[in-house]
């Protein structure tokens, strides 16, 4: 499928998803969109992610195959690189922390530049890393800020986070940077997908869809907060109802809120069945989460099975005469 069709397909999908709660709420289906769908989505999310991880974990790791990106531990006087080529659990944990929290491997990225001659150069290319960091961390902050809707009294850490996020102290209500950064991050990820020809070529609808979905979620959130303000007190009543399992659907919450909530629900439900599970998968990646101790500690393959080999005896039987003639030692003389 070409890029424009993938994009249109994803846009239409998100468009339909926006219309559903719009129509539904107008038709009075507030508890369906305000209660049933969110519960279903969260349940799907947790069950789905757990099922996915269990599914991965059920397949064994027959061989220990870390990608070694630094000096191995060998002779005592050679400095080994325990971070890029871990030789113990501590090294593995640190490597994983760097990978998961700071996107270490992405930070290595370089861009190939091909000139006449040919001359090839590798230029620094940290934009993808930066975009990814901005996107993921602003998303995290936005998510954590939303805890204020699910707890009373509000956790002081959430207040602290809001203080930091709104440090610019502009606007009423105060402008949160994370919302804008999230939008910017998504926009960046989308733009590079459509402007880099190779990337455009490999992109699937399932690459555009989550971007559009998240962009719409963030936009509706921003709109609700700054422009078309919804009744926050009623919203909190609803979300607290969800959190305490005493769901209520107060009157008079704008449909914008239901769109936002529905799209978030879709994102939750979609998560385990899409590429978004990379969040869980990265922890299980055998090229990263194993120590390079192959020659020190034997790794066990649970399905290791005996194989047919050409034994020495068979070999000698075949070549005995020639071996004797060449003066090579043999087991049997005749």
């Amino acid at each position: 499928m070409n890029a424009s069709r993938s994009i249109i397909f994803s846009l239409v999908a998100v468009g339909i998803l926006v219309c559903l709660p719009l129509i539904g709420v107008a038709a009075g289906m507030t508890s369906f969109f305000g209660v049933i769908i969110p519960y279903l989505a969260v349940a799907l999310f947790f069950i789905g992610v757990v099922a996915r991880v269990v599914r991965w974990a059920r397949s064994p790791v027959p061989f220990r195959i870390p990608t070694t990106c630094g000096q191995q531990k060998s002779l005592p006087w050679i400095q080994s690189d325990n971070l890029e080529n871990p030789s113990d659990t501590k090294g593995v944990v640190l490597r994983m922390i760097l990978e998961v929290l700071l996107f270490r491997s992405l930070f290595r990225n370089a861009r190939m530049e091909f000139y006449e001659g040919p001359k090839i150069r590798y230029a620094s290319a940290k934009w993808l890393w930066l975009g990814a960091i901005v996107f993921h961390y602003s998303f995290l902050v936005v998510l954590l800020r939303h805890l204020r809707f699910f707890s009373t009294p509000i956790n002081p850490l959430v207040h602290l986070l809001e203080g930091v996020d709104g440090f610019l102290e502009v606007g009423v209500p105060r402008l949160y940077l994370s919302g804008l950064l999230l939008l910017a991050g998504v926009a960046f990820l989308f733009l590079r997908r459509v402007t880099i020809p190779q990337l455009k070529y490999i992109s699937l609808p399932s690459d555009y869809f989550p971007l559009f979905l998240i962009f719409t979620i963030a936009s509706t959130g921003v709109l609700m907060r700054y422009i078309y303000k919804v009744d926050v007190v009623s919203v909190k009543e609803l979300t607290m109802g969800l959190a305490t399992f005493h769901p209520v659907t107060p009157e008079g919450i704008g449909s914008l809120f239901y769109i936002h909530l529905f799209l978030v629900s879709v994102l939750f439900a979609y998560f385990p069945f899409s590429k978004l599970v990379h969040m869980a998968g990265v922890f299980l990646s055998p090229t990263r989460n194993l120590a390079n101790t192959n020659r020190m500690v034997r790794h066990i393959n649970p399905w290791n099975y005996p194989v047919k080999v050409h034994t020495y005896e068979e070999y000698e039987d075949e070549f005995r005469e020639k071996m004797i003639e060449a003066g090579l030692p043999v087991e049997k003389k005749e």
Partner: protein, 540 residues
Amino acid sequence: MAKVPKADELAKVNHRPPQTPWTETPVEFRPGTFCYGAKPKNLEVVGLPNPRDWNPTDEDWKLPDDWKDITIKGMKDRLDKFRTFKLFMDICVRCGACADKCHFFIGSGDPKNMPVLRAELIRSIYRKYFTGSGKILSKYAGARALTEQVIKEWFYYFYQCSECRRCSVFCPYGIDTAEVTIMARELLNELGCTIDWTAGPVANCYMTGNHLGIQPHAFKDMIEFFVDEIEEVTGVRVEPTFNRKGAEVLFITPSGDVFADPGTYTLMGYMMLFHEIGLDYTWSTYASEGGNFGFFTSHEVMKRLNAKMYAEAKRLGVKWILGGECGHMWRVVNQYMDTMNGPADFLEVPKSPITGTVFENAKSTKMVHIAEFTADLIRHGKLKLDPSRNDNKIVTFHDSCNPARGMGLFEEPRYVLKHVCNHFHEMPEGTIREKTFCCGAGSGLNTDEYMEMRMRGGLPRANAVRYVHEKHGVNMLTTICAIDRAVFPALMDYWVPGVDVTGLHELVANALVMKGEKKRTTDLRYEPLPGMEDEEDDDV
């Protein structure tokens, strides 16, 4: 055999993808860019499926009738047996970080050589048959049906991946295309769609013990030929032994070094070194291959070939195994051997009889890399070295993919190198160590009918060599891999004329001052040593 285009023609690489989506761009078997299909006799020797006469350019590939079931079932088996495969099918986000990291993409511009798209070739099939969304949404979920065309595409592109793992260094989730390629090749093997350049060596290795099919008496003859050569150059007669029980060490190296220049000089280097330090070692004609083209065939064939190492070590009653300079051999030894064919509890933890160093890092596998062994010798001052004998060589070092990214063997060879030559220059950062580039012919692709692709795939490596060639006058490319030594001469001639290729232990042997040696006037290649140009003439 296809003629390889001229370098300036090949250098015009278009990296822009075509207009047609990749799913609608059929594969074209252009001579020079694919390897010949496996001959039936080579598959029969090891009992691999569907032996038949065929060639990739044939319309009809003579697949088994139930090829589709075989493939889907084969995928299921492997998804259940390898977490890597299952995970790597699920978690790619197509961020594209890997795209321009592949040497075959850089040199060919073919978008299906971007690691991400290479993996999508099989991921799209996975989605269709193993995921709900793929079954329902089909192409809208990035899924497609398995057809014979897909098998042909797999064959073309999974034999345009050298399993070098460079992309896995850059992937934020550590997705390793080598792993995907290994699975795809296993699936192709089940249909009999493998290449003869791996099937032949596999058959040879299985029967005779080495890829080249050298029989025991001939193996001994060939090694002894080099004994004479060494005596000619140094005046010292080394005395290798074969299949000797009770030796302390079993030495195993790729048979390529027994067979062809410049690997043969490295082989001479090993023997000179072992003689000089008085190592109690033996060759084996049965385990006469370090390399393992089974690794490029399937996990099972890898295990079947690798089994000889431990079996022979046990039969001969050696204490431990020393391994020569080889790339993929060391990935197999370091990451697979002990798991597959161990435990090697009949061996002892390797201990250098010369320095007393115990190789704790090999205490389970009981196999030591010769660069580790030699570095330790030098560190303890056990070798008398005259690096000025290599002064006419301005050297750079190529990290072979497998010891680099499947082991982390970076400092040992450099330490040795710096002690045996005076002029050493690194290639640019970003092209060495864990970011090193493939020679363009790894994973069993070092065949002549594949020459255009080899030149394309080797371009990034050659480009970095050319940089130090122009900047520092580098004229010698050092490697610790037998495939490198076999393929780099052609690559250098093509892209960087004036750069020669050597193994690490050839340089060691040149610099090694041996007890009782005659006045050395030439190196192992009979080239005059620096300052000896005139003496050489006198001798003649």
